[in-house]
Amino acid sequence: MNTTSWAKWPIVAALVLALLWLVFGVYAAGQPLWAVAGLTFGGLALYVYASARTLAWRYLFPGVAGMLVFVAFPLLYTMQIGFTNYSASNLLGVERARAYLLDQAIADEDQALTFTLHAEGAALRLVLTPPDGGAGFISPPLPLGPAVAKGASLIRMQAVPADKRVQAAPLSLREVLNHREALMELKLDLPDGRRLSYAGVREFGTIEPLWLANPDGSLTQQATGSTYRPNQETGFFENPQGERIQPGFKVGVGWANYSRMLFDADVRGPFVSIFVWTVVFAGLTVLFSTALGMTLAVVLNWEALRFRTLYRTLLFLPYAVPGFISILVFKGLFNQNFGEINAILNAVFGIRPAWFADPTLAKAMLLIVNTWLGYPYIMVLCTGLIKAIPADLYEASAIAGAKPLTNFFKITVPLIARPLTPLLISAFAFNFNNFVLISLLTDGRPDYLNTKLPAGTTDILVSYTYRIAFTDAGTNFGLAAAISTLIFFMVALMSMANLKLAKINEEKRA
C-alpha cells in the first residue's frame, strides 16, 4: 500500500461522474451513437486504469484503442457503407431529407411589398410599403449585421399610416445590398397574420411551402396535389407513377453494390480491366525491382570489386528521397514537350513519346518510376540475406569450377528465396494499393472513353475507388465502399499467407 491509494477511489468516482456528464451532453445533443462510443471507450479506459487485475492492459490500451478507433472502426464503417446507397444524391437520412423538402418554398409575386431601410442610430428600421402606397408596416430598430444573421429571427411588424413614416432618408441600394445576408434570414410577421421573407433586392413577399407533410410520412406537392411516399427500397420519395424527387435518402440496399460490380456491364467492363492492370502492375513492379535489386546486391557483394560502399550509398539514394517529391520530379521529367527525358530521346533517336496521353506508354512510365522507387529496398534486404550465406558454400563451388551464374542460380537464389518470399508478398500488397504513385503521377489518366463512371487506363483498384468516391462525376460512396471491402479481403488473404510463410520459416530455422 503506498500513500496515494487512499486518494484513488474518490478520483475514480470524480472521473466516472465527469464521463457520465460528458456522455449525457452528447446524448442530449441528439447523437446516441457517439454517446455510446464515448461511454464504451471512457468506461474501458477507467476500468483498465483503476482495476488491479488489468496490469497488462494498462500498457496495451492506448495502442489498441488507437487501432480500434482509427483503423478498425473506419474499416467496419466502410463495410457498412458498402451495403447502402450512400452517394451525392442520397446523402441524408430520411428525416433530414424530408425536412429539407419541407423547407423548400416559393415566393408569391403578387403579394410582395417593397421595403426600405432607414438608419436610426446604429440600428436600422425596416419599412414595408404596399404597391398602392397605402398604410405600411414598420419594424422595431434592428441591429442588422453578421450577428443577427446567425439566429434567424422573427420580427413583429407594426402597422403605420402612410404619413407617419420615419424621418431618415432610405438607404441606397448599394447599402441595402451590404445587409443582404442578414435580410435573407429575417421572417416578418404582419399584424394580419401574414408572414413575409426576403424576395428580392427591393421586396419582401409571402412564401408558400412547396410540400405539405402528411401524418403517414408522405409528402404532398402543393402545385400538383400528387403524393410522394418514401420508398425504403430505392431511397427516394416516389409518387404512384414512380416519379422520384431529389434529394433521395440513405437506405440499405443489401448486396446491390456487389452485384453491380459483378453483373452490371457498365461497371464490370472497366472494373475487370482495372483489376487485371492492378495485379499486373503490382506483379511486374515486384518482379523488376527484385531482379534489379537482387542483381545489384550480388554484384556489390563481390569482394574483388572496389568502391562497393560508395556504389551502395549512391544506389540507395532513391529510397532516401520522399516519394511525393521524386514522383513530382518524374512528372516533370516525363513531360512530352518540356521534359528532360524527351529532350534526350529527341536528341538521340528523334522521337518524342507522349508519356501521359498514350495508355501503353503511361503504364510503362509507371513501371519505370516504380522500379526506380522500389529497387533500393530489395537491394538492402538481399544484401543482408546474402551476408548470412556461409562462405564455404562458394569455396566449394569454386573448387568444383563453377561460374558466377551457376553460383547465383544454384546457391544464392535458393538460399535467399525462402526468407525473401514474405517480404516480396508484402511488397506486392503495398503496390497493390500504391495510391500515392498513381494519383500523383498520372491520376489514372488517360481515361477510358466509353464508360459511365469515370475510369482510367492506368487506374489501380484503390485509385479507381477514390475516384468513384470523391470526384464530382461519381461521388458514389456506396459502390466505392463495396470495392474497398473487396480490396481489404484480398489484402487480408495475402497478409495471412504471409504470416503463415513467416511462421514456417521460423520453424525451419529453429
Partner: protein, 254 residues
C-alpha cells in the same frame, strides 16, 4: 576468401564498374536534374544538366524572400513553402513522439506479460494495418467531422486532429520494438523487481534505457512515415496555410 581467379577476372571487373556507373547515372539523373532546374533562371526545364548561368531566384521564392526580376518588377513568393515545411515537421515530430510512447508500452506488454489472446491480438493488429487507408477516407472524414463538432480543436483542418489520426498506425512499430525487447534478458528486470522496483519502475529505469537505440529507429521510421503521408493529410487539411509539405507541393503547377 582466397580463391584462384581466372584471366577473365580483370575484364569482368571493368565491365561491372562500367555497368554500375551507368546505373548510378540513371539513378541519380532525376535528382541532379531537380537541383539543376532549381538553379536555372526562368521557368525552362530543358537545357544542359550543368546550368550555364546560376540564379538563386527559385530558391529565394521557396525560402519566402521576394526578388526583383530582370525587368525591375518585384516577384513575391506565391506559396508559403516554409510554413508548409514547418507544419510537416511539427506534425511529424509530435506524432512520432506519441507513436513511440504508445508502441513502446504496448510492445512491453506483448514481450513481457501474459494475458489472454496475446497472439490473436498481435496478429489481428498486423492484419488490420494492411487495410489501405486511401479507401477508408470517407469514414475517416466522417469521424473527424463528428469529432470536430464536439471538440473543435480535434476536427477537420486542425493539426491536432491529423496527429490523432496518425496514432492508429502503430502495429508495425509494436512488432519491431517487441522483437528488440525479446533480445534483452528478462533476468535484469527481475533483479530490479527483487530489489523492490514496481512493474512500471522496472520498465522505466531498467528496460527503457537499454532500448534507446530501437526507440530512435522507431522514432525516425515514424517521423518519415508521417512526413511523406499524403492521402489522409489531403482529406483532413485543405486550407493553404494549414497544409503539410506533401499536400502543398501537389498544389504547385508542374
Amino acid at each position: 576468401m582466397a580463391i584462384v581467379t581466372g584471366k577473365s577476372q580483370r575484364w569482368r571487373i571493368v565491365a561491372t564498374h562500367a555497368g554500375l556507373c551507368l546505373l548510378v547515372a540513371v539513378t541519380l539523373f532525376p535528382l541532379l536534374a531537380v537541383i539543376s532546374i532549381s538553379l536555372r533562371p526562368g521557368n525552362f526545364s530543358t537545357g544542359s544538366l550543368i546550368p550555364s548561368e546560376i540564379s538563386l531566384e527559385h530558391w529565394k521564392l521557396a525560402l519566402g524572400f521576394s526578388y526583383s526580376a530582370a525587368d525591375g518588377t518585384l516577384v513575391t513568393p506565391p506559396f508559403p513553402v516554409l510554413l508548409w515545411l514547418w507544419n510537416s515537421i511539427k506534425i511529424a515530430s509530435v506524432s512520432a513522439l506519441l507513436i513511440v510512447a504508445i508502441s513502446t508500452t504496448a510492445a512491453y506488454a506483448f514481450a513481457r506479460m501474459k494475458f489472454a489472446h496475446k497472439n490473436t491480438i498481435l496478429n489481428s493488429m498486423l492484419l488490420l494495418q494492411m487495410f489501405p487507408v486511401a479507401v477508408a477516407l470517407v469514414a475517416i472524414f466522417a469521424i473527424f467531422e463528428g469529432l470536430g463538432s464536439y471538440i473543435p480543436w480535434l476536427g477537420i483542418e486542425t493539426h491536432a486532429g491529423l496527429i490523432i489520426a496518425y496514432l492508429g498506425g502503430v502495429a508495425m512499430h509494436i512488432w519491431t520494438i517487441k522483437g528488440y525487447f525479446e533480445t534483452i534478458p528478462t533476468e535484469i528486470e527481475e533483479c530490479a523487481k527483487v530489489d523492490g522496483a514496481t512493474h512500471w519502475q522496472a520498465f522505466q529505469y531498467v528496460l527503457l534505457p537499454m532500448s534507446v537505440p530501437i526507440l530512435m529507429v522507431v522514432f525516425v521510421l515514424a517521423f518519415i512515415g508521417t512526413i511523406i503521408e499524403y492521402p489522409v493529410a489531403s482529406v483532413l487539411l485543405r486550407e493553404e496555410p494549414n497544409l503539410t509539405l506533401a499536400v502543398g507541393l501537389q498544389v504547385l503547377p508542374v
